[in-house]
């Protein structure tokens, strides 16, 4: 019975392969394996992907796989992508090393994999479309340090230790701190990208270093927002602190507008739509022209170059009073 099923399945699969070869007008199937959909940033990324012109006009079919923050779950999604004979795959890995084996299997099955947002330690990616986290770390550190006059005490809220985002942003922050010996780091601990963890960590730090903290560097916005909450709940004035984060999530944009913090926008839209254009180029070949508006937007900083570059660096944009309203209106 089981053998019969398997045989039947194999026949079915084979006949399907033939029909899909016969009908060229079928939409291109692209899977997107992302690390997890619980955080706002990945939601923005996914929504931007579905908003890509090629998805909207039906030339491309997108299936988003939620990795649920578990490298094993993501690993199995490579296999699902292979069995379902997707034409290309976008990858936002959970772990920069654990993803390599899956990428190798997909590439061996003839499916090009385009990395986005977070890095995967492999040379088999067709391309990587993301932002340089070292640069982001430098920008967030500079935002805080310039506000305190490059003198005083800061605390640093880190992402999950060992994740590529944490490692690279910490590197950027360290680069800047090394140049300014008058700035002292009082505390540097992980709050796992989480607002609530940062809140309680900051409460403890405010108690331990009463009146001594001048600046708060968040490796992401969520944690900076948690720190703001802790400052407010301790009855202190947010304006006595220089606070900054990275990503440009909606709440952080609101906080920038309210003059409570600074933020550096990581362009989820450019990362997602850029990666998809590169993936479609892999499938359709030379004749393909990118359809997302982001290539026009970043024309001077990120050139399309026939879609065959190994790395596309999406620029960071500091969020300021002059652009915050425009960014907020894009979130509706």
């Amino acid at each position: 019975m089981k053998t019969a099923n398997v045989l039947g399945g194999a026949l079915l699969a084979a006949s399907l392969t033939m029909t899909s070869v016969a009908a060229l007008a079928e939409p291109i199937k692209v899977s997107a394996a992302v690390y997890g959909l619980r955080a706002e940033f990945m939601q923005l990324w996914s929504n931007a992907l579905k908003d890509h012109p090629a998805v909207k006009n039906g030339t491309v079919n997108i299936t988003i796989f939620d990795g649920r923050y578990d490298a094993m779950v993501q690993d199995s999604q490579f296999d699902t992508t292979i069995t379902q004979q997707f034409d290309a795959m976008l990858l936002v890995p959970i772990d920069s090393n654990a993803c390599a084996a899956g990428v190798a299997r997909a590439v061996a099955a003839g499916i090009p994999v385009v990395g986005s947002n977070a890095r995967c330690n492999t040379d088999q990616l067709a391309a990587f479309v993301g932002s340089d986290d070292v640069k982001g770390g430098e920008m967030v550190a500079n935002a805080v340090l310039s506000k305190i006059g490059y003198k005083g005490n800061v605390v640093i809220l880190e992402g999950p230790i060992g994740q590529s985002g944490q490692i690279d942003r910490a590197q950027g922050i360290t680069n800047v701190l090394a140049k300014h010996p008058d700035v002292k780091v009082l505390e540097m601990r992980t709050a796992n990208w989480s607002r609530s963890e940062a809140l309680s960590l900051m409460e403890n730090w405010l108690a331990a270093h009463r009146g001594k903290i001048d600046g708060i560097i968040g490796q992401n916005d969520e944690m900076a927002l948690g720190a703001i909450e802790a400052v407010k709940q301790a009855g202190l004035d947010v304006n006595d602190f220089a606070i900054a984060g990275i990503d440009g999530v909606t709440d952080a944009l609101q906080a920038v507008k309210a003059n409570e913090m600074e933020s550096v926008l990581q362009d989820a839209r450019a990362q997602a739509q850029g990666a998809l254009d590169v993936a479609i180029r892999q499938v359709k070949g030379e004749s393909y022209r990118p359809q997302s508006t982001i290539w026009k937007q970043y024309a001077d900083k990120m050139a399309w170059d026939d879609g065959m570059k190994k790395e596309y660096n999406v620029p960071w944009t500091p969020v300021t009073q002059s652009n915050v309203d425009e960014l907020l209106s894009g979130r509706k």
């Binding site: 399945g9 699969a13 399907l16 069995t83 772990d95 654990a98 230790i161």
Partner: protein, 334 residues
Amino acid sequence: MTQESAGVPSTNPAAATPSPRGVKVAEFAKRYGIILAFLLLCIALSLASPYFLSVNNLLNVLRQTSINGILAIGMTFVILTRGIDLSVGAVMACAAMVAASFAAGSEASPVYVPIMMGLLVGLGLGMVNGLFVARFAIPPFVMTLGMLSMARGLTYIYNDGMPISNLSPAFSFIGQGVLFGIPMPVILFLSIFLVCWGVLKLTTYGRYVYAVGGNPKAAKTSGIRTRLVLFSVYAISGLMAGLVGLMVAARTSAALPQAGVAYELDAIAAVVIGGTSLAGGVGTIVGTVFGALIIGVMNNGLDLLGVSSFYQQLIKGAIIVLAVMLDRSRLGRD
């Protein structure tokens, strides 16, 4: 029920002398209900997705299920004794980290060293659970909840929170290799299933496990060393978690300190869907394996159909409750 059968003629003829056919159907449903449910799910999914029944996909499902399946088999031993092991996910991560540290980089030890180390860590932490539950009568929920946190802490301490990658090809074979066309994790899953099924079904020890869970007092008076049995089931569960740790690290060629979070919940779900009673003494390894397969097939099928993972969680939860409800109504009939 007992009063009715003890003389007074029943008003309900079906209850007193059920038709042979009724008995057969009820008996069949009781024995094979879970397998039927599994087959129905497979049929539904193969109609819904053309990819479901392909050989590759079925092997994928089996390989993906092997992780939860082996944890759930260990968990079955524990739950049969009225216990619970909440620490398996964390113990698994700890074993994976320790094993990986002996399998990484250019100075990797021969492959049996990381394997032994991983299994020993799992077994050792499981024995600590067993010792405190059996010898010091700490409630299993509390002890293993404590171990969940301790093992996770140890995992982070062991390599300062950093992942370990670049594991040797020989070690990675445990997770990535294929023997006779069958993925290694599936071979391990099948072997563990056969061994544990045999142990519970055919050995004196197996009968002791059921006896300790069914009626601890009676088990004790009949001369069973109940504490030793209790101790052993946590050791078994720990050993299984150690093995799964090896498989997970080998699969991705990397050990991550945050691996295995909430894996205990899926393992418990598989055991419960498989018809093992949380009240102890009732349940089978076969049921657990099909419980794990149902979860695995469902995750795979919903992925194939492109159903959002938010709905997947909703559906999984509903299936757990439904499975226990069916179980209850079955017990009621008995």
